[in-house]
């Protein structure tokens, strides 16, 4: 305990260093655990959504056009002996209402906490109109009870209740029990209904997996940058206590005891920092979750609420990760303590020689990591390998930084003419080892920032151009009643009325939508194609070819000229590939005629209307008078705004994490400069004694920081651009299924460089000011303590 007291007393005398260590671990934990909390919340919501009506992986019977199934058809099926149960799915006040029939629903369809609860679902009738919702869902206009098994924004009720609330009498689809009477023929195709297996609908977890992997990768990067601070602080604490440790050992404290005490000390600090980090992470997650929930709803239709729950298992995992992180950050320092000779080396030069060897090893390791990244990028397939390539790139760049900086500073040293300048450059080179971890953190944060902003910027530019081309019509009207009647209403009032028509199908094993385009200049002239044969549009409308979106092309490995089996007996040539940003599903476009011939029962669910833009308000009023609700009318501007809004939300959290990581790196710089400042006196005191003013020396300190920041930024820029290329061409292709052109934004780089200079300058300013104000007696102590 005496030894522990001596070790711990170091922190009492240096509270700033303790704060740096706690803050590093805390920030690392906070950013990581925030991402994990968001992911966990989303996954819980997916699980609840997947469990609802689907716990037994039950198949469904639905109409090919997804329209309601007449009650008479349902009754006919039941009379034939098929075990089917009706479900009405409807929207009501922002909720998705699911009406089920408790008498015919197969076991497991209704969550057990509803069936076995105080209010028995089976005793409910349509008159009570009780709707079960999750605790985070608000439905003030309904008579509600809560169920923990339901996802957000979803209500489960008796089918009569939902029919009364929605006005829809016919079932949306029928749930098919797993075991059907053996004497009956297969149910598929009966009464023209389609049997859809549970797997046909894309699984939410699978769809959103890449989005969450993206978040996890950034969380990991933030965690790594935080660990740099912790590593830096722990390393510095060991360096500063080197003599104390030697003295303690000389006075009889065994080495093993010193190492155990230091490990215990680190464990205690990491536990405290971890708990603080979890609290901070929870707060960050609570702030970011509503945006992420909006993204997941908009992009994938995933029912994630914006409210964050507290999961003790999440907290325990986050704490464990912090402890593992602290162990990683402190392992090197503890290893150095364990290997530290009890006597100081006789030759001070030995340390410099050792550092020279470290630089050589760093150069070799960094080059190997960069080569691995290049190899993975060129030959690797899959999202994990794409992220591995990025990890190798970032690791390689970080490890290469110290040897690169040392080499560059050695090269430019002869350029300095004045003695002070020569000393400043030589001294900067000498400081590289002490600052290398903070500079690595800065490099990673800058590269991540450049990479992410380039990726998001490129994506946004491409997306905005694309959406403007794609939304070629002035008005979109969705059929609420008879589509033919709506078409007849629109045609005399518009230049052209183009049907919006399609159905969901599995194409080449991929969940896809098959849709049709009318032969009109709107599409021929405006529809953006990524690749196409010369007469693609002619082939499409001649019924000889199909277009596929980029997602289906990548997932199914299609190329222009391939044959595509669209439907039984219908193989078409792939004549074009088009961008389809924001769509998680594959898509096939057919000419209107061949679509109608293949799917004669499918009616348009809406119309794209070409009209003089000045006439849009008048037509909207006419449609209202016709009986269309506002929800079923959307003009081009509203559609465009909605799409861009969804897009912006998608990358909101990525941008937020990137900015937070940069903030953490700035903090790492500040801590590194502050702590190194305490060890700088022996370097600057001789210059002061030789006639340099303290103010000039202080200015030199700031300039040194700016030189290092500039060199680090110069290396971060190419790394960031390569990172952007990898994100655009490897990650996005795998995660979202689309490839994008890379756009460069030099203006953003200048802003970021200014920010890096500002952070480094400010970080160096405080220690510099302290140096400028230092009492001469303090500088004289340097000489008094020399042998």
């Amino acid at each position: 305990m005496i030894g522990l007291g001596a070790l711990l007393s170091h922190w009492r005398r240096r509270p700033g260093q303790l704060a740096a260590l706690v803050m590093g671990l805390m920030l690392a934990t906070a950013l990581w655990s925030a991402v994990q909390a968001i992911n966990a919340e989303a996954r819980t919501a997916y699980d609840r959504a997947a469990a609802l009506l689907d716990s037994q992986n039950l198949a469904r019977l639905a109409r090919p056009d997804n329209g309601p199934i007449p009650v008479a058809d349902y009754v006919a099926l039941r009379r034939q002996g098929y075990l089917v149960s009706p479900v009405i799915e409807a929207r009501h006040d922002g909720l998705t209402l699911l009406g089920v029939d408790p008498l015919t629903a197969p076991p497991g369809v209704i969550p057990p906490d509803i069936l076995g609860g105080a209010t028995d679902f089976q005793e409910l009738s349509g008159d009570t109109a009780l709707v079960f919702i999750s605790s985070e869902t608000s439905a003030p206009t309904l008579n509600t009870a809560t169920s923990a098994a339901l996802p957000p924004d979803t209500g489960l009720a008796d089918i009569a209740t939902v029919a009364a609330l929605s006005g829809q009498r016919d079932p949306s689809y029928l749930i098919v029990a797993a075991q059907q009477p053996a004497s009956l023929p297969p149910i598929a195709g009966t009464l023209g209904l389609e049997l859809r297996s549970a797997e046909t609908a894309a699984d939410l977890g699978e769809l959103t997996g890449s989005f969450h992997l993206n978040l996890t990768a950034f969380g990991l990067l933030s965690f790594g940058v935080g660990l740099f601070i912790a590593h830096s602080a722990i390393g510095l604490a060991v360096e500063q206590r080197r003599q104390v440790i030697r003295t303690m050992r000389a006075l009889g404290v065994p080495l093993r005891q010193v190492v155990v005490l230091m490990a215990g000390e680190l464990l205690a600090i990491a536990t405290i920092a971890g708990i603080l980090g979890i609290a901070l992470g929870y707060m960050i997650a609570a702030v970011l979750l509503p945006g992420v929930a909006g993204t997941l709803r908009g992009l994938y239709g995933a029912p994630v609420s914006g409210e964050l729950g507290f999961d003790p298992i999440w907290a325990a995992w986050a704490l464990l990760i912090t402890l593992i992180g602290a162990a990683i950050a402190g392992a090197g320092a503890l290893w150095r303590v364990a290997r530290m000779p009890i006597l100081a080396p006789a030759l001070p030069r030995a340390w410099a020689m050792r550092h020279g060897r470290v630089l050589r090893w760093q150069a070799i390791l960094g080059a190997a990591a960069i080569l691995s990244a290049a190899g993975l990028a060129a030959f690797g397939q899959g999202l994990i390998l794409a992220f591995s390539a990025i990890a190798a790139l970032l690791l390689g760049a970080a490890v290469l930084l110290p040897p690169t900086l040392t080499a560059v500073l050695s090269l430019i040293n002869p350029l300095a003419r004045a003695p002070f300048g020569q000393w400043a450059l030589a001294d900067t080179r000498q400081q590289v080892p002490g600052l290398s971890l903070a500079l690595m953190a800065l490099l990673l944060a800058l590269a991540a920032n450049i990479g992410v902003s380039t990726m998001v910027g490129s994506f946004r530019d491409t997306f905005v151009t694309w959406i403007e081309q794609r939304l070629g019509s002035e008005l979109y009207v969705f059929a609420e009643g008879d589509p033919d009647a709506l078409r007849s209403f629109l045609e005399p009032r518009a230049d052209a009325v183009l049907p919006v028509i399609g159905l969901e199908r599995t194409v080449l094993g991929e969940a896809s939508r098959v849709r049709a385009l009318a032969d009109h200049a709107t599409y021929r002239d405006g529809w953006p194609l990524l690749d196409a044969v010369p007469d693609a549009w002619d082939q499409l409308y001649a019924g000889q070819a199909a277009f596929v979106n980029e997602q289906l092309q990548i997932r199914a490995g299609l190329s222009i000229g391939d044959r595509l089996p669209v439907a039984p007996g219908l193989d078409l040539l792939v004549a074009a590939i088009y961008a389809d940003y924001g769509n998680p599903l594959g898509e096939v476009i057919l000419g209107e005629a061949i679509f109608a011939a293949t799917y004669p029962d499918i009616a348009p669910f809406g119309f794209a209307v070409r009209i003089d833009p000045a006439g849009v308000p008048e037509l909207i009023n006419a449609l209202r008078a016709y009986g269309q609700s506002d929800r079923a009318i959307s003009d081009q501007a509203a559609q465009r705004e909605l799409s861009i809004q969804i897009f912006d939300r998608t990358f909101q959290i990525t941008a937020a994490l990137s900015a937070l990581t940069l903030g953490v790196a700035g903090l790492a710089m500040l801590i590194a400069f502050l702590t190194l400042a305490q060890m700088r006196l022996p370097q600057v005191a001789p210059l002061w004694a030789m006639g340099e003013t303290k103010n000039r020396l202080a200015r030199g300190e700031v300039i040194r920081a700016l030189i290092l920041a500039a060199l680090t930024f110069a290396l971060a820029l190419p790394v960031g651009l390569v990172l952007a290329w990898m994100l655009l061409n490897l990650v996005n292709t795998q995660a979202f299924g689309w490839r994008l052109p890379m756009v460069l934004y030099p203006g953003d780089w200048l802003q970021l460089a200014a920010l890096a200079f500002l952070a480094s300058g400010l970080a160096a300013l405080w220690p510099a000011l302290r140096l400028a104000r230092l009492a001469p007696a303090r500088l004289l102590q340097v000489f008094a303590h020399e042998r």
Partner: protein
Amino acid sequence: MLLKLLQRSILHGAISRDGLLLSDVAGRAKLPMSKWEIDVVLTVSNLAKQFAGAASPVFSDVCFTLDAGHSVALTGESGSGKSTLLHLVAGLDHPSAGEIEIDQTGLSKLAEPELARLRRDHIGIVFQQFNLIPSLTVAANLSFQARLADRYDPDWAAALTEQLGLTDLVSRYPEELSGGQQQRVAIGRALAGKPKLILADEPTGNLDEATGDSVMASFHRLVSETDAALLMVTHSERLASKLQHRLHLSRGRLS
């Protein structure tokens, strides 16, 4: 034990005229032999040290013994290996050849934790650079090793504090003290556990002459009170002359 020592001395060298020092041509020294009822604290036999990569050893065939209550100055030119020899005796470094026994325990047989325990329980070290723990107060520094060894005696600590003139400084930190005051704390720390052997490496090397004399006066007085054996490395003739005996290390040999 005494008989064994006498036999060894006779074997290796001749008794000097004053009867205090036994030495042989190889540089073996036995300190002191004025009384037969002495307690041998330190025995150094055929000790040699050669650093890795060095062409020749720093010293070789170094032999001497040191008894309780006696002091010896180890002198020599810069680089002659005085501090290296002291570090070997303290178990801080390992010899290339030979053996060191402290209180009849051979250091070569001890593992690092046992060496640490031996230092903690039996050796007090005074460094030229003081090597106080900067984050501990004077009182905590002074009692540090004694408490580690579980030999802390508050009365003795109080007496040391008073005799070293540190009474008003106990709550201060090392950086708030002058060099002389810091060295007094280091001396107090070395003596607080009443060790059998005190090793001092140029204890006044960082002090001016007057301060050094004052510190050494307190040091000698307190060492004699504890009946410890003192081995002091110094290049100061004046300081060496104040100790009972002297060993000179030159060109790798002890004389």
